[in-house]
C-alpha cells in the first residue's frame, strides 16, 4: 500500500516537464485585493479633498494594480512566458469590458427611460390631434418599415447584381472603377444622400417636395455600397471547384451563378443585407429633409410627408410642448422600439441564414 502511494509521488517530483503554477483562485484573489486597495485609495482621496467617492477611479486603480501584481507574481512562480500570457489576458479582458460598458449603459438607459410609455396605446395610436400626454407611434413605425422596405427593394437587386458583375464578369478598368466608387460611396455622409434625394425629387415634383420614396432613395444610396461589399465577399468565398463542376456538366454560366453560386453564398448574403438594413433604419438626417415629419398616418410612400421612428424621436426631443416629460418619454420609447426592430431583423436574418446554409455533416 505504501509502495503504491509513494511511487507516483516520486515520479512527479522527478518529472522534468512540471513547472510552477498559480492556483486557480490566485488571479481572483488578486482581483479582490486590488479592488479593495483601489476602493481604499479612492475613499481616502475623496475624504481628503471633500469630493464624492468615485467608483470609476477605484476600478481604474484596481485594474492597473492587478495587471502589475499578476505579472510580478506570475513571473516569480510560473516564469516569463506565463507572466506575459497573464498580462495580455488581463489587457484583452479589460479592453472587452471597456467596449461593453457604453453598450450596456446605452441599452439599459433606453430600456429604463423607454419603459414609461411602452404600452398598448403607444403601438396603436398616431399623434394626430394629440397635445401633451398619450399618443403613439404607429404612423412612425409604418413609415420606417415602408421607407426601409422600399430602400431594400431598390438597393438589394442593384447591390447583388453589382457584386455578381464584379466577382463573375468584371475584368480590368471598369470593375476597378466600380470597386473604387463603391468604396467612395461607403463614406458618403447621410445628410448628403438626403440632399441628393431632395434635389432629385425637386426636379420632378418642384421645390418643397416631401415623400417617403425620396427617403427610400436616400437610404438606398447608403445601403447599396454595404450590400455590394458584403455580397462580393460572400461570392468570393464560393470555391471555384463548384463553378467548374457545374460548367463541366454543361451548365451555362448564368445558370451556374443562379443555381450554384448564389445558393451556396445565400446565408452570407442574407446576413449582409440585414446588416445593411440595420445600418440605414436608424438614419435620421436624410429622412428629416426628404420624408419630413407629420402627426398623421400615411401609407402612401409616393405622396406626402411620412413620419419615421428616428425622426419622431428627434422631433419629440427638440420641440416638446408644455408637458415636456410626455414628449421625452415618447422619444425614449421610440428609440427603444427602433432598437427592438433592428434586433428582430437580426434574429430573422439568423434564422434565414441557418435555414439556407449549405447542409454540412451527416
Amino acid at each position: 500500500m505504501t509502495a503504491t502511494t509513494t511511487a507516483p509521488a516520486r515520479r512527479e517530483a522527478a518529472n522534468p516537464l512540471t513547472a510552477g503554477q498559480l492556483p486557480l483562485w490566485g488571479p481572483w484573489a488578486l482581483i479582490g485585493v486590488a479592488l479593495a486597495i483601489g476602493a481604499a485609495v479612492s475613499a481616502l482621496v475623496a475624504g481628503a479633498s471633500g469630493t464624492d467617492f468615485s467608483i470609476v477611479a477605484a476600478v481604474l486603480i484596481a485594474y492597473v494594480l492587478y495587471l502589475v501584481a499578476i505579472t510580478v507574481v506570475s513571473q516569480q512562480i510560473e516564469g516569463g512566458r506565463k507572466a506575459a500570457d497573464r498580462l495580455v489576458t488581463g489587457v484583452v479582458v479589460g479592453a472587452f469590458v471597456l467596449a461593453l460598458v457604453p453598450l450596456v449603459s446605452l441599452v439599459s438607459t433606453v430600456i429604463i427611460n423607454g419603459a414609461a410609455r411602452f404600452d398598448l396605446q403607444f403601438f396603436t395610436w398616431t399623434m394626430r390631434n394629440v397635445v401633451g400626454e398619450g399618443g403613439g407611434v404607429l404612423h412612425a413605425i409604418i413609415g420606417t418599415l415602408l421607407v426601409t422596405l422600399w430602400a431594400a427593394i431598390i438597393s438589394v437587386p442593384v447591390g447583388i447584381f453589382t457584386a455578381i458583375y464584379l466577382v463573375e464578369y468584371g475584368r480590368g478598368r471598369l470593375s476597378q472603377a466600380i470597386t473604387f466608387f463603391v468604396d467612395v460611396m461607403t463614406g458618403i455622409p447621410s445628410i448628403v444622400a438626403g440632399l441628393f434625394a431632395y434635389a432629385l425629387f425637386a426636379l420632378f415634383a418642384g421645390e418643397g417636395v416631401r415623400a417617403g420614396i425620396g427617403g427610400a432613395v436616400a437610404l438606398s444610396l447608403l445601403m447599396i455600397p454595404t450590400v455590394v461589399r458584403s455580397t462580393e465577399e460572400m461570392l468570393k468565398l464560393v470555391p471555384n471547384d463548384l463553378r467548374e463542376a457545374s460548367y463541366a456538366l454543361g451548365v451555362p454560366k448564368w445558370l451556374t451563378i443562379a443555381k450554384v453560386v448564389l445558393p451556396t453564398a445565400l446565408a452570407g448574403i442574407v446576413t449582409g443585407v440585414t446588416l445593411a438594413i440595420a445600418r440605414v433604419i436608424g438614419e435620421t438626417a436624410p429622412l428629416l429633409i426628404i420624408a419630413g415629419f407629420t402627426t398623421n398616418m400615411n401609407y402612401n410612400v409616393f405622396d406626402g410627408r411620412m413620419m419615421t421612428l428616428p425622426v419622431f424621436a428627434y422631433n419629440q426631443y427638440v420641440s416638446p410642448g408644455v408637458q415636456e416629460q410626455a414628449y421625452f418619454d415618447r422619444a425614449w420609447t421610440a428609440a427603444l422600439v427602433l432598437i427592438l426592430i433592428v434586433m428582430l431583423l437580426n434574429v430573422i436574418a439568423r434564422i434565414i441564414a441557418k435555414v439556407f446554409a449549405p447542409k454540412a455533416g451527416r
Binding site: A245, A248, P263, R362
Partner: protein, 259 residues
C-alpha cells in the same frame, strides 16, 4: 455513345506563357487513355482543353484543333456549353454541391439546366447513375441527405455518378484518386474498367501503377525545364509503354529513375 478524340498540333497558352506545345494525339473510343508525367508538364492542362474547361481560367487560350468525331471543338461559333454537355469531367478533389442532397447532386446536370423530367424518370436516372458509379448500395437509404456527409471516396464516386448522369460521350478524369485511400482508389479503378464499355475515358494520374492497371493506351508528357512548354513525348499501348518504350525519357520515368 462514346466518340473519338483527336488533337492536331495543339498549343496551350496562359496569357503569353506557352504551357504545352505541339500535342498530336488520337484517343480511341471505348478505351481508357492515361496521361502520365511529372508535375507541371501540362497533362491536366491538355485534359482540360479537351472539353474547353481550361478557358474558365482567365487568360488561357488554345492554338490548334481538337476534333470530337471529326468536329473541331475550337471552330468559330462553337458553344463551350454544348461541348461540355458531351464531354464530362471528374476533378481531382471531390466537389459535390454543398447546397444539394445526394439525389439532387446526381440530378444536377438536369436540375441546373432547368430541364423538365418526370419524378419516375428522375428516380430511374438517379438509381442508374449511382449503380453505374458503384455507390447505390451505400447511399440508397439516404438519398435526401447532403452529399457533403459522405466520405471522400464516396463523394468522388458521387461526382462520377453526377458526370455520367448527363450521359456524355467522353469522360475526363483529372487525378480522380489522388485524394483517396487505397480502398476507395480500388473502387474507382474497378468503376473505370466498367465505364469503358460505354465511354471514352481519359485519365490523368501521377500513379504509374494505376496507369498500367486501368489504361489501354498511355501518353507520357514531359517538360524540358521550368518556364519551357510541356510536350507529348510518347504515346503508345500501355503494355509497350511500360515494357519497351521507344524514348529513353519514358523509360527513365516509368522505371522510376526520375520524376
Amino acid at each position: 455513345m462514346s466518340k473519338r478524340i483527336e488533337t492536331n498540333d495543339l498549343d496551350v497558352y496562359y496569357g503569353d506563357f506557352k504551357a504545352v506545345e505541339g500535342v498530336t494525339i488520337d484517343i480511341e473510343p471505348r478505351s481508357v487513355t492515361a496521361f502520365i508525367g511529372p508535375s507541371g508538364c501540362g497533362k491536366s492542362t491538355v485534359l482540360r482543353t479537351l472539353n474547353r474547361m481550361h478557358e474558365v481560367i482567365s487568360g488561357a487560350w488554345v492554338d490548334g484543333e481538337v476534333l470530337l468525331d471529326g468536329a473541331n471543338l475550337y471552330a468559330p461559333g462553337v458553344d463551350p456549353v454544348n461541348v461540355r454537355r458531351q464531354i464530362g469531367m471528374v476533378f481531382q478533389r471531390p466537389n459535390p454541391f454543398p447546397t444539394m442532397s445526394i439525389r439532387e447532386n446526381v440530378l444536377a446536370g438536369v436540375l441546373l439546366n432547368n430541364r423538365r423530367m418526370s419524378r419516375s424518370d428522375q428516380d430511374d436516372l438517379v438509381e442508374r447513375s449511382l449503380r453505374g458509379a458503384n455507390l447505390w448500395n451505400e447511399v440508397k437509404d439516404r438519398l435526401n441527405l447532403p452529399g457533403s456527409g459522405l466520405s471522400g471516396g464516396q463523394q468522388q464516386r458521387l461526382c462520377i455518378a453526377r458526370a455520367i448522369a448527363v450521359s456524355p460521350e467522353v469522360l475526363l478524369m483529372d487525378e480522380p484518386c489522388s485524394a483517396l485511400d487505397p480502398i476507395s482508389t480500388l473502387a474507382i479503378e474497378d468503376l473505370i474498367e466498367e465505364l469503358k464499355q460505354e465511354y471514352t475515358i481519359v485519365i490523368v494520374t501521377h500513379n504509374m501503377q494505376q496507369a498500367s492497371r486501368v489504361s489501354d493506351r498511355t501518353a507520357f508528357f514531359n517538360i524540358a525545364g521550368t518556364g519551357k512548354p510541356g510536350k507529348l513525348i510518347e504515346y503508345d499501348d500501355t503494355t509497350t509503354m511500360f515494357s519497351t518504350p521507344k524514348v529513353q525519357a519514358t523509360e527513365d520515368y516509368v522505371s522510376g529513375r526520375f520524376g
